[in-house]
């Protein structure tokens, strides 16, 4: 029954993916137990008056027949009614035991088979129209409305589960009420009598059915009959919950009596029928084309077959239990002369004081243990979550590190390439300067040659020869004028190329003269003493002196190489 009827409460919600199956199952289980325990009495009394099963074996067989019927129908994916199954099974017992079925009660129950879905259709149509009017008026944003509906489905589902427990628990334990244990369980703050224990057990068994076997049938309700929007889902569940609540509320019935209206029949209502009625109600408002008639027909056939199948199964089951297992499934009727026919079981029972069981300490102990288990579970879960979060953080950091490393490697690669490029350019420029220097040296040598020539001219006595030589010399001197420009350009190029080095020398060694700084630059460029001498316009020996002075001023120790020191600056 839990498997079958929970789908009626949350089937549309889960089918439209507004609520997950797990959440729906847990909420439904909790509230069905509460509804069964608090409000299950009214409908149980009605079912008891249909057929009072006076032997435990008979109750068991009837319940088994009804349950098996529902199980088979559920297996084939048809949302059948447990009420019809149990009614059929009870009638089967009545037939087997030769008891008369109370026609008034039966007609009252059968009437709900018709009025239940009709009422469901009426409620759902009205609620649907109301909801549509309100939504169109309020113009709530679609996304916010989705959240409202999600929570609405959960709230309405909880109410529906409560109503289901209150209304339908009679289907589960109604036949056992006559055999309720004569016991009172004292929990300190409240007590549970035998009947309440039975209702609680019934609620728990429904909850177990919800948790274990309802997933498949949910799909049928949600998708099988018509495509349900999430707004329509709320309307369907609310309509169904209201109908079930009305047919199980003794308070409401008493209120009606007090104002002079006829009482509400407290009858177990088929929640499946009500849901179908509710969906059809919406279908009528929106247009009947949306209802899948074929599926509807299959459900109707299931409803007809269920009580017949349950009745037959109950009848033959009772026969089997009585004749094979030799169990009394009913108490034979006894007729005393001049008196009414009664069953043996209806003799006035001796009033026996119920057994009082104090469970306060048991409940406290179990409660404490559960709390401890919960606390431990929470701590473990918290630690696990913390560990997961730490792992995630570490992974992120690792990813970040890897990215950083890749970036740095890329930067490094770029820098290396740049360095290579710069080195090449530097080398090129150095070579250029070398060429310039060599040019200068060459010209210096040429000048020396020229001086020699002048001396030679001086020594020449022949005037003609002398003039000839002077002309030749003049030509050479004109060449020399471009030499000075070359040196000037050369020095400018040096300055441009090694600006940074010059600046550094000035900052760290301010006592160096201009010539010494220039000398240091030439050394950095890799010029030899022979090449530097003409550039500075000094002798090679002077260059060695410059070298010595530079070492002193740069505070270079004896073993250290001057050129390497300068290059590392």
């Amino acid at each position: 029954m839990g498997a079958n009827d929970a789908a009626n409460i949350f089937g549309t919600a889960v089918g439209s993916k507004m609520v997950s199956f797990a959440r729906a199952a847990i909420i439904a289980s909790i509230f069905v137990i509460i509804g069964a325990a608090i409000q299950g009495g009214g409908t149980t009394e009605t079912l008891g008056s249909l057929g009072l099963i006076d032997e435990l074996a008979g109750s068991f067989t009837v319940a088994l027949a009804a349950g098996f019927t529902v199980f088979v129908m559920t297996k084939y994916g048809l949302p059948v009614s447990t009420t019809q199954a149990i009614v059929g099974a009870i009638i089967g017992w009545n037939l087997f035991a030769g008891r008369e079925t109370d026609a008034a009660v039966l007609s009252k129950i059968v009437t709900t088979w018709i009025s239940g879905p009709l009422l469901g259709a009426a409620f759902s149509a009205l609620l649907f129209l109301l909801m549509r009017y309100v939504l169109r008026k309020m113009k709530i944003h679609m996304i916010l409305l989705d959240s409202y509906i999600r929570w609405g489905l959960i709230a309405v589902g909880a109410f529906g589960a409560y109503s289901l427990g209150a209304n339908n628990v009679a289907n589960v334990i109604g036949v056992f009420v006559g055999h309720a244990p004569n016991i009172i369980l004292d929990f300190g703050i409240f007590e549970l009598g035998g009947t309440e224990i039975l209702f609680l057990a019934g609620g728990v068994s429904i909850a177990l059915g919800i948790l274990t076997y309802s997933r498949k049938i949910i799909q049928t309700i949600g998708k099988g009959i018509m495509d349900i929007s999430s707004e329509a889902a709320i309307v369907v569940v609310l309509a169904q919950s209201l109908v079930l609540f009305i047919f199980s509320s003794t308070t409401l019935s008493n209120v009606l009596i007090s104002i002079g209206l006829p009482p509400i029949p407290l009858v177990p209502v088929s929640s499946s029928q009500v849901v179908v009625g509710a969906i059809i109600g919406i279908g009528l408002v929106k247009g009947i084309q949306e209802v899948r008639i074929k599926m509807l027909a299959e459900i109707l056939v299931g409803w007809i077959l269920t009580p017949i199948f349950a009745g037959l199964l109950s009848f033959f089951g009772l026969f089997f239990v009585q004749n094979v297992f030799n169990q009394e499934v009913f108490t034979p009727l006894v007729q005393s002369p001049g008196k009414e026919i009664t069953s043996e079981g209806s003799k006035i029972a001796e009033v026996i004081d119920p057994q009082h069981v104090n469970l306060v300490w048991w409940v406290a102990g179990i409660g404490f243990i559960l709390l401890m288990v919960l606390a431990i579970w929470l701590i473990i879960r918290q630690n696990k979550l913390k560990l997961i979060a730490q792992n995630e953080l570490l992974e992120q950091q690792n990813e970040h590190y890897v990215t950083q490393k890749a970036l740095m490697e890329s930067d490094l690669k770029t820098m290396r390439l740049e360095n290579v490029s710069m080195a090449k350019r530097l080398e090129f420029r150095r070579k250029e300067l070398m060429n310039m220097a060599l040019n200068i040296v060459e010209q210096k040598n040429y000048l020396e040659e020229l001086a020699e020539q002048l001396k030679d001219i001086q020594k020449t006595e022949d005037k003609k020869e002398k003039n000839k030589k002077i002309d030749h010399l003049l030509k050479n001197m004109k060449l020399k004028m471009s030499f000075d420009d070359k040196v000037e350009n050369f020095n400018l190029e040096i300055e441009k190329l090694h600006k940074g080095f010059s600046r550094k020398l000035e900052e760290e060694y301010p006592k160096l003269t201009e010539t010494e700084k220039r000398f240091a630059t030439f050394l950095r460029l890799g010029f030899s003493s022979k090449e530097i001498a003409p550039l500075l316009n000094v002798s090679i020996k002077s260059v060695e002196t410059y070298r010595y002075r530079l070492r002193k001023k740069l505070n270079i120790s004896k073993g250290e190489n001057l050129i390497r020191f300068i290059q590392n600056l």
């Binding site: 439209s16 679609m142 996304i143 916010l144 929007s229």
Partner: protein, 215 residues
């Protein structure tokens, strides 16, 4: 309320997204006019603004998608909604590409075509301006969407007519233009017309979604 903060945040992002598209259409219109009438500095500013709006729209769209999936919002209509956002994003993408094409290809537009092209741009942008309120209405009152979409179709048809007239004018009434220039103008007319086509496509999708959402 805190429990609805996720939904409210997505609504906020959605409003910003639609605002970006709306603003983009205004900037696009101004950009084309500035190009046509030689206001190059203003035109370049329009490109930068539209580029930023398009980039913002992309980021907002991605953020909305992430949040819808992350928080399992709107499981039934999520797919449709994301498709709508994609169609709207296409509109601003086309507008940005168009302006960049003006900037890169520097089409030579004869003065007598300025008014026609400006009018064509106005028609194309009008489709977007009619689409935006319909898109906003979809989220709050889907039953009113259909009433607003007819303007989109009207302006789109007008834009098509105007584009055809411009092309006819270029090829038949401007013998001084080279064939290459005529082709160039033809393509720019097409580019501007594509904005209205994209709006129409979005309107078609919106129309179907509004019917599905009808309650």
């Amino acid at each position: 309320m805190a429990i609805f903060s996720k939904s409210n945040k997505v609504i906020e992002l959605l409003e910003k997204f639609i605002d970006s598209i709306d603003q983009g259409s205004i900037v696009f219109k101004k950009g084309v006019d500035n190009y046509l009438y030689g206001n190059i500095q203003a035109f370049e500013n329009n490109i930068l603004t539209l580029s930023k709006l398009e980039s913002d729209a992309d980021l907002l769209g991605k953020d909305i998608e992430n949040r819808l999936y992350k928080h399992s919002l709107m499981p039934q209509l999520r797919g449709d909604m994301l498709r709508l956002l994609e169609e709207l994003d296409d509109i601003i993408d086309i507008m940005k590409t168009n302006l960049y094409q003006f900037e890169v290809e520097v089409p030579n537009i004869p003065g007598e075509l300025n008014q026609d092209l400006s009018k064509l741009t106005e028609m194309s942008v009008a489709t977007v301006e009619a689409l935006i309120p319909a898109a906003r209405a979809f989220f709050r009152s889907p039953e009113t969407v259909k009433d607003q979409l007819h303007r989109v179709y009207f302006y789109e048809t007008e834009a098509d007519k105007l584009a055809a007239a411009i092309k006819r004018k270029v090829f038949r009434e401007m013998p001084d233009l080279k064939l290459s220039e005529k082709f160039h103008l033809r393509y720019f007319t097409l580019h501007i017309e594509q904005v209205s086509d994209a709006s129409k496509k979005a309107a078609d999708l919106l129309s179907v979604m509004a019917i599905k959402r009808a309650f």
